[in-house]
Assembly symmetry: C2
Homo-oligomer: 777 residues x 2
């Protein structure tokens, strides 16, 4: 691989049999609009998808056996009208890569330009050779705007070309549910409210029937072609089409540029006509500025983003490319404006029904807090905006404070299996943790007053009401599910207890600091005392005989998993063993306790970390994409740098190599974010759990250099690690700025890299479940 | 109430607004055929139902979130064609108690005659007064046969009468599921395969589409009426109808007697024509013998049954009636021939989808083993016949031996909520317990060899493979659900552990006794040694601080339920609190540990029983009909006779007073059986857990006398308790028979009643949850 390729992702004709995966990898988005990387012509296609953040339908859920407070409906992401489609006919034969002869076909995702380029040389079944080029972007600086420039030219002989540019609602999607009621909701989910087709302009406005949402999409076209072509436009409630047709000779070129704009509101929000006017104006404005201007702005936005987000990693170009791919998708996933969050798949696919899970707060926001804090704030404001539903849910569950949903789009609980959904109360502490981290990194007092305090208070109330005191004076959280989904309904899950403690203390600190505001939330000093007492008495399950912490009370006394009797084909275990077996045995899906050591490192001694890692690594199978990153962080901290390196590679290659065979449903944003955490918290040794930044770096043998940036209270900190030294700089700061939070107030500073002490033999993974070895390549 | 009423259940016009409940109470059955007590004319009706034991359809199950080995389909009871219907038109106006004037209406279930009698005097809207009488029976001695004698006479003036006797398939039933797929399966579930209508005879043969079952029903009629009436017969695939019509004068009477016969097989069993011939012959034979002969035979069969089953209870005639009602339905529920079992509702309704649960082995068979051992054997043979499915299920669950379903009709697991279904593995030990009890009571060596040994061996294998050894050398069963459904997925549920221990030991004993046969099942001495070792090391969770056993490990350390904050309207709790709250707190639905003390009494000292009862009574709410009986048994044993009496009353009145508001779905056979257990094991103090009978009787203050019978190894033992003495007799035995198992080999024998020692204050129930006080009436 040449160096330059680290800024590109390339797929050729050979990848046409992995369309779904490629569509996710080539997805473009800006945190508001997302287009999957479907071919311009829309077919062949793995799964179409053009999303607006938060736009969804609701579908009923039914249970073979009902239970109190089981969610009766689930939010499900549905596609907004698709403006990316451009179909081509060559002498009346449709361009379809499954027909004719594909002489050349390549698509390139350009990570610096922020565009998807395509070049196809195709000979039609009748023998007409054409060259098709397209460039697609979803504008980072212009929230509603996406655009495609599409060019076609005949190569050998004159041909009749017809290019149809569609804006299409209710595209046919593969069935995603075996429940006929769900399928009926998700087939043609949009109801047309208005359409306009006026020459090169068009608008569709649709609503959903159950979730009460309205989406409007406008398209505006620019045609550059010989005079011989004719342009027509027409529309129906579900489609606006602009057709450009005519005879072209070799040397002549037809170029169609389409500018689209997306807006979404509720049906009782902006009226239909007004919304149609708005999107049309946005699309027209983009056309007026021109595609080249969009390209320039896109590049500028990305340059700014990369200045912070780029991670340089010398010694392994494949990994360098993969890391940039990961960071590109994180840049695309969120927005600094408004209060929208980032779902597990972002806007890259409909996996998990488009739901937001704890991944956002625990994997994605810890990265964005340091790279793009306004995006983290936006996502946390989204949680705050859904506090009313979380309070309602807590009341329904007969709990105190607020209970945020395990899975949702619109704010209500959508989990259909409560032992691994509603019972996973840690999501509330995860949100509080993300708030505390954001506040520590930004000192954003306005956010604290407007949203942060209330989030901390209401989640602290949950824990205080949920827990109970034992005779011995310890505070316990019983009957919850931690991050590990191979366990459920356990007592005193260590991760949950530690995170709840952080939550209680964070809320107490904030309430004391803003006592007047806290008072308006009903917090008095007695309540704060109660939170602190519960936090101080929080039970920490520990097996003194084995010298390891327990993932939950009694975990280490559960039966061991019989790895010797487990075949390679038996993984992932959840597809081959019942929960009955998984739950009661010492086998781990998500690296639960290891993640606790990552997020609350000060609660464990170095020896405990080493022993815990060894114990749990031997019991953690590679069945969740969420495990590798925290395992990498802890393996690096303990000194198992080869293992850490391989785990980091597993995290960053999750989608580029489709390790879980699920990339077609959308990218694993948590895993991609985890790659940054593995580098920065693992090899960089960065920690932030006490509201201060600290670094304890160590470089794996395969890397010659690792450089990354962080934002800290408005400044950019640049860290560069080599085998011999660690350099800390504030490249943008004036001379008198000091970052007193790291390395004794001196900045910039260069320090020698310490020798990593020999951590002893690498902890064994379960047989066959060690991450693929990359460290020794 | 006059004494005679204790043999009758009477409902009048006042009960017409509780039709569903009355239909269950008036259900007739013989363990093969069951007719709900719907009015002859079929309307008004709570829920129609005419069942054949085991006849069912299968419907798909779907889950919001799938899991490995979640059952994909569920058996559901569906009605066989209904032969009970007889409709009347009076001058072209249909008899319908909701119209015209009901001058008099009464139905009486005669518990000695085994018939349901009805007498209605009705004035039609046009003013015609008629008297209608009917007598209905489902023949106990003749398995396929049910019959109705229907009489109508004009009272004031001549009228045109038309009587239509229907045999009707696919009767309209109220929707039982909100799942449209289930509804579509259960609407018109029967497909006609053949029908015959030949004058007064008719047959319908139907099959189910998914479960592959075939049912055939024949009707044969006898008409006794003035010559002026005309008789016609006609049929369609779903209906055979015989119509008798003509003008009758006051003093004249029209009598129609219908004889029906039911058979059921699989679609690859008896061919359609052959089955049709068979049921027609059976119906014709019944008609040839005549209704009076059926009545005589019915009475004889019941006389024989009552000789053992009747319990005499002097001092509380309402309870005497209720006990007889309970015993009547137990007599009706099973059959001594074939291998059919008894579902939770018997053949009295479609509650629980008609499923068989652990209630059968743990509540119903302990009664039938002593009253009608052949019926118990039949039900256990049904389990044995489904061993192949239980072995398949164990393999699917990656467990050893056999895993019987939590809910089923056809033998496969139908539970749609695995934490309270599949995880309730104790059903396997419950089956083994029923086998051991049956063997101890009957010494039936043939059953042991043909079925019992294999049942014991395969269930023992389950426990041995499922459990694990702790470092301290104890054998544990983790991650199971015990009887209490307000807890789930617990470690070392005491009930399960004790029952599994009985299972392991019982299997070991049987395998050693029949070592050659056991060898053919693959049992060698090492396996038996393993079973004994596991049994001997079985962990018994005990809280030494509180001096009580733990329902499961850690139970007594769980948070307490806040009864002070629980309103009367919050019961049953499962409709007002999430499992999240119920599971982790000390609140009990089914009296789990108390049941363990009933079934394995030798494992607890008297003091432990008293302390355990007090501890768990305070935490057990009245949300399950399964709790009262074991609580009554233990309350009696401990000496709280008033509490025991009130609990007994709750158990026996469950349906007659519709305490759970569910009687319309069918009777609670476990609760009715529990009433006998409360009397015999509670006040009689009978115990059988060591394979020997023993009695420790004590009479509650409200009773002057309690007399009951038991079969023990072929003999009938009669026990009569008065405040002063207990008499034990073998009324049927020749003089030289000795029952050496009770009271030192002396039989008959009379003993003084001991003084019950003062047990101290009654253990408090949760506020408002004590059973209704009857003891002090």
């Amino acid at each position: 691989m040449v160096g330059d390729e680290t800024w590109r992702i390339r797929r050729t004709v050979a990848d046409l049999d992995r369309l779904g995966e490629t569509e996710s990898i080539f997805a473009l988005g800006n945190g508001w609009v997302g287009w999957r990387g479907v071919l311009d012509e829309g077919a062949p296609c793995g799964m179409p998808g053009s999303y607006v953040n938060g736009f969804h339908e609701r579908r009923e859920l039914s249970y073979p056996e009902e239970g109190y407070a089981f969610p009766q409906a689930s939010d499900t992401v549905v596609s907004a009208p698709n403006a990316a489609l451009i179909r081509l006919w060559v002498d009346d034969e449709p361009l379809d890569l499954r027909t004719g002869t594909v002489r050349d076909h390549e698509r390139v995702l350009d990570l610096r330009a922020g565009v998807l380029r395509r070049e196809t040389e195709w000979i039609s079944p009748a023998g007409r050779r054409v060259l098709v080029r397209s460039t697609r972007l979803v504008s980072l600086p212009r929230r509603p705007v996406a655009a495609v420039r599409y060019e076609v030219e005949p190569l050998d002989a004159p041909v009749e070309l017809r290019v149809c540019s569609d804006l299409l609602a209710n595209e046919t999607v593969p069935e995603s549910s075996d429940d006929p009621r769900a399928a009926s909701v998700l087939t043609d989910p949009l109801t047309g409210e208005a359409y306009r087709a006026d020459g090169l302009d068009g608008v569709l406005v649709h609503r959903t029937e159950r979730s009460g949402q309205r989406v409007a999409v406008a398209v505006s076209h620019l045609v550059e072609a010989p005079d011989t072509v004719a342009v027509t436009g027409d529309g129906t409630p579900d489609r606006v089409r602009v057709t450009v047709a005519g005879r072209l000779h070799p040397g002549q070129r037809l170029r169609l540029t389409k500018f689209a704009a997306y807006e979404c509101t509720t049906v009782d929000g902006t009226p239909v006509d007004e919304l149609a006017d708005l999107v049309m104006a946005e699309a027209d404005a983009a056309r007026a500025d021109g595609f080249d201007a969009l390209l320039v702005d896109q590049r500028a936005a990305l340059d700014a983003a990369w200045q912070v987000a780029d991670v340089q990693l010398d010694g392994d170009p494949e990994l360098q490319q993969a890391v940039r791919f990961a960071m590109f998708h994180l840049i695309q996933a969120g927005r600094p404006d408004g209060d929208r969050t980032i779902s597990a798949k972002g806007l890259t696919g409909n996996g998990y029904d488009g739901h937001v899970l704890w991944d956002t707060e625990t994997y994605v926001l810890p990265v964005l807090t340091y790279l793009a804090p306004a995006v983290a704030r936006s996502a946390l404001s989204w949680r705050h905006a859904h506090l009313p539903q979380a309070r309602e849910r807590a009341a329904e569950l007969r709990l105190t404070g607020a209970t945020f949903p395990w899975r949702t789009i619109g704010g209500r609980e959508c989990s259909g299996y409560w032992p691994a959904g509603t019972a996973a109360l840690h999501v509330n502490a995860d949100i509080a943790d993300a708030v505390l981290r954001y506040l520590a990194a930004t000192d954003d007092q306005r956010f604290l007053a407007e949203a942060g305090l209330e989030l901390l208070v209401e989640t602290a109330r949950l824990w205080h009401g949920f827990g109970h005191w034992s005779d011995s004076g310890a505070f316990h959280l019983h009957g919850v599910t931690g991050p590990d989904e191979y366990a459920a309904l356990v007592d005193d899950n260590l991760f949950t207890n530690l995170m709840a403690r952080r939550n209680l203390r964070g809320a107490a600190d904030a309430a004391e600091r803003l006592s007047e505001l806290a008072g308006r939330l009903g917090v008095d000093s007695a309540e704060v005392v109660g939170w602190r007492a519960a936090a101080d008495a929080m039970f920490i399950p520990y097996d003194s005989g084995r010298g390891v912490h327990q993932q939950a009370a009694g975990f280490t006394e559960q039966p061991e998993w019989d790895f010797a009797a487990t075949d390679e084909d038996d993984y992932p275990l959840l597809l081959h063993y019942p929960y009955l077996e998984l739950y009661r045995k010492q086998v781990v899906k998500q690296a639960d306790l290891v993640l606790a050591m990552q997020l609350d490192p000060g609660e464990f001694t170095a020896d405990e970390k080493a022993r815990n890692l060894a114990y749990y690594e031997a019991r953690t199978v590679r069945d969740s994409s969420l495990s590798a990153a925290p395992q990498a962080v802890l393996a690096a901290e303990v000194g198992h740098l080869d293992l850490a390196y391989d785990l980091f590679a597993e995290s960053v290659f999750q989608d580029l190599e489709d390790l879980g065979d699920k990339t077609a449903d959308g990218l694993h944003l948590a895993s991609l974010a985890g790659a940054w955490l593995a580098l920065v918290q693992g090899f960089g040794g960065m920690r932030d759990d006490r509201g201060v930044l600290s670094f304890d770096p160590r470089l794996p043998g395969r890397l010659d250099r690792l450089a990354f940036n962080l934002r800290w209270r408005g400044d950019r900190l640049r860290v560069t690690l080599s085998p011999t030294e660690a350099r800390y700089e504030l490249p943008d700061a004036s001379a008198d700025v000091e970052v007193e939070l790291w390395h004794h107030g001196e900045a910039p500073v260069t320090r020698p890299m310490p020798q990593v002490p020999d951590p002893g033999p690498e902890p064994p993974s379960p047989p066959g479940r060690r991450p693929t070895r990359r460290s020794a390549d």
